[in-house]
């Protein structure tokens, strides 16, 4: 039924190979068209998959899991590494997100990267990334997920360092790669721990995944192993995997790579560092959710508190940044933390193993926010790209008053800001509201903290909005040329993403108020059953009022030509502003820990040992062999007569010896 899904992965791979190997011989336009067309087909196939999948009949009210392909790639005794395609509600939902945003970014890049050196290479890397990301979400087991997880890391590295002649780009790409690799080490250890003790790499103990059908029950010995391992091993393995996910999803304190990753081209930031790759950690938690719920419910509080702290920290830093892409980057970190919290708070209630209502709510809300956030944050980043394209700078100080020059960008940016701020009838409202409701049910403290962070979100987004589109026009910066609206290839993706944001928002908000069925919860939910979203009127009202209040505050402070209040605040708390601007010195702390402590106290002695003792031993052996060779080398003179003399002497000597005996 879903045999065509293999093309969803093969087509981007193919276009990566074609563009990577032959791209440099192509015209820019041809290379871009190849990448975009193959992605267009992938998008169509993804939508077809979603249509067929969600159209298929449920069994006992649960969406079935389909495995169109699965083959054993590497058997290792009882363990085996499989490669395949797994279709279930979250992977199908991710297919939609990835293919939509990726297609929009492909189209947008025609305008944004126009005439750029290495245009073909750029499209090749985009294809590589899309392939890896699709492989990650379609993986049938943890190990396949890990392989593609590393592949997205590589493509992220390649794309951040796209402008490789620039030093900051190189440094940022290295930083991103090393930090995520460091976190992935924990992920790998977690996977191996899990595989060693449970003898399986599957996502759940429901059973091994077999091609052509859903799952087959585990054999008994595995089940017994799982039960013994359940006490301590599985939570440990899960927490180790979560550290990997936290690295990819930029959770505190492993978030340091994401703001720097903004050195890459802006469409790349939209695709990789806002919409898809950075939510891989969230996706991983969602994937392992049955295990978390069943074997490590206590450990989920780690996810909650890491998420809460990250959300707060990133929101605080975002309030003080002046680079528009950095503001968006910290806002991304904060929003991903919202998703993490949502997953963390979906503990089972006191009904035993059966998932109760608010357990479902958190999971559903996290996935829903992932979906809506991908759309409006991609839109915000692409809008920021248009602005950078027009102003040739990332600094907010050089902008201001752009609303006259860039109407389309202005409107789409405003709509996305309203969505992220959580205003009703925009998609962010529905999903964020569900998250806060779930948090309230988990613990009122978490709920109120998250409400406060949502207010901060509204504040810093509108600070950004007013800073770019209102305020004083920086005439000096416009002397070369006045800013102009971006070309059609760049504005169309903005409009498409905006329409999705509004459409989803209106549909779910109205549906929530009027109690329609068929919203996000009926597609994706923890148990796979139809989950109807009920608005909690109190939470919805509170968060809406708070969001509107903070937008008003931002308007009051930042809308005017001059900003006396902001200046006065800045003068009153210069240290606080400086600390927030410097991201509370997180990079410096890491720098200190790695360079001063780890490098100096651990790495330097080890390096000395390696260079002098290990290398010394082998160098000595090589020197000995060399000397021995040199000393017997003259024997092999190549002079035949000399050999003959030696031969004769030897023979004579032997004869004499034999005669004497």
């Amino acid at each position: 039924m879903f045999s065509y899904t293999i093309f969803i992965m093969l087509l981007p791979l193919l276009s990566f190979l074609v563009l990577g190997l032959a791209g440099m011989k192509m015209q820019h336009k041809v290379a871009g068209l190849i990448g975009t067309c193959s992605l267009g087909v992938v998008t169509i196939l993804s939508y077809l998959t979603a249509f067929q999948y969600f159209g298929a009949d449920r069994v006992d009210g649960v969406y079935q899991t389909f495995v169109p392909y699965n083959f054993t790639w590497l058997p290792l005794g009882n363990l085996h590494f499989d490669l395949g395609i797994l279709l279930d509600p979250i992977s199908v939902m991710m297919l939609i997100v990835i293919s939509t945003v990726s297609l929009m970014v492909h189209i947008y890049s025609f305008g944004y990267m126009h005439g750029e050196k290495g245009f073909q290479r750029y499209y090749a890397f985009l294809s590589l990334f899309t392939m890896s990301m699709l492989g990650l979400v379609l993986a049938t087991n943890i190990f396949q997920m890990y392989m593609f997880w590393e592949l997205v890391g590589v493509s992220s590295y390649l794309l951040i360092g796209f402008y490789y002649p620039l030093k900051p780009a190189i440094a940022a790409s290295k930083k991103a790669f090393i930090v995520t690799r460091f976190a992935d080490m924990f992920f790998l250890v977690g996977i191996l721990t899990f595989g060693y003790f449970v003898d399986s790499f599957s996502f759940s103990f429901a059973g091994d995944i077999v091609m052509g059908q859903g799952t087959t029950p585990f054999i008994e010995s595995n089940m017994a192993k799982a039960v013994t391992a359940g006490g301590f091993i599985i939570p440990t393995a899960l927490v180790l995997m979560f550290i990997g996910g936290a690295g990819k999803s930029a959770m505190f304190p492993l978030h340091i790579w994401l703001p720097d990753a903004m050195e890459g081209p802006t469409p790349v930031s939209a695709l990789i560092h806002a919409a898809t790759m950075v939510v891989a950690g969230v996706f991983q938690i969602a994937r392992m959710f049955p295990l978390w719920i069943q074997y490590a419910p206590e450990a989920m509080s780690i996810i909650v508190w890491v998420g809460v702290f990250t959300a707060f920290y990133a929101a605080a830093v975002a309030c003080a940044q002046s680079d528009i892409k950095r503001v968006l980057a910290f806002s991304t970190i904060s929003q991903i933390a919202f998703m993490m919290v949502a997953l963390g708070v979906s503990l089972p209630g006191h009904h035993g193993a059966v998932l109760d209502n608010h357990a479902q709510l958190g999971y559903m809300a996290g996935m829903f926010h992932l979906f809506t956030h991908a759309m409006f944050k991609a839109c915000l980043f692409l809008g920021a790209g248009c602005i950078i394209h027009a102003v040739h700078s990332n600094e907010m100080a050089l902008m201001g008053g752009l609303r006259k020059y860039m109407p389309v960008t202005h409107v789409t940016f405003l709509i996305s800001c309203l969505a992220i701020a959580g205003i009703p009838f925009f998609s962010g409202f529905s999903s964020k509201d569900e998250i806060i409701t779930a948090c309230m049910a988990y613990s009122p403290v978490v709920g109120w903290i998250m409400t406060g962070i949502a207010a901060m979100t509204a504040f810093y987004m509108f600070r950004l909005y007013y800073g770019i589109f209102w305020g004083t026009e920086n005439v000096e910066a416009h002397t070369h040329h006045t800013p102009h609206e971006a070309p059609l290839s760049m504005t169309v993706p903005l409009i498409v993403l905006c329409v999705i944001t509004c459409g989803v928002g209106i549909y779910t908000t109205l549906g929530g108020f009027l109690g329609w069925g068929g919203s996000f919860g009926s597609f994706v939910s923890a148990a796979g059953t139809d989950y109807t979203i009920h608005f909690d009127a109190q939470v919805a009202a509170t968060s809406t009022i708070i969001a509107i209040l903070s937008i008003c505050l931002a308007t009051y402070i930042y809308k005017g030509e001059s900003q006396p209040i902001a200046d006065r605040l800045y003068k009153t708390f210069p240290k606080l502003h400086r600390a927030a601007y410097k991201r509370f010195y997180q990079d410096e702390i890491w720098q200190y820990v790695t360079h001063r402590i780890i490098f100096r106290c651990v790495s330097t002695p080890i390096a000395w040992f390696d260079r002098h003792v290990v290398d010394g031993t082998f160098n000595f052996m090589a020197w000995g062999a060399n000397e021995a060779g040199e000393s017997i080398r003259p024997w092999q003179s190549g002079d035949v007569r000399q050999y003959a003399v030696w031969f004769l002497t030897g023979t004579v000597a032997l004869t004499l010896i034999l005669l004497c005996i």
Partner: protein, 102 residues
Amino acid sequence: MIPIECYFALSALLFFIGVYGFVTRRNLIAMLISVELVLNAVDINFAAINRLLYPGAMEGMFMTLFVIGVAAAESAVAIAIIINVYRNFRSDSVDAIQNMKR
């Protein structure tokens, strides 16, 4: 009748002339001739011992013929090699081909 010691003396003389020539001559052809001398010295021994000590047997004669055959083949191969060496090095001196060891 010539006493057997004379044959031995002749063959020993021929053998050491051959060895001396092999060790001292630089010319490849001369070295080949020296090897032939060594082989012929051995042949004389075979024939003489067979004829004088074991007149009824024929094995020594066969061995002589066999060695002559092998020597013919060997010189054919050796001359082929020498011609190739000459073509490549433009020299028939054994010193010229010392770098063959590399």
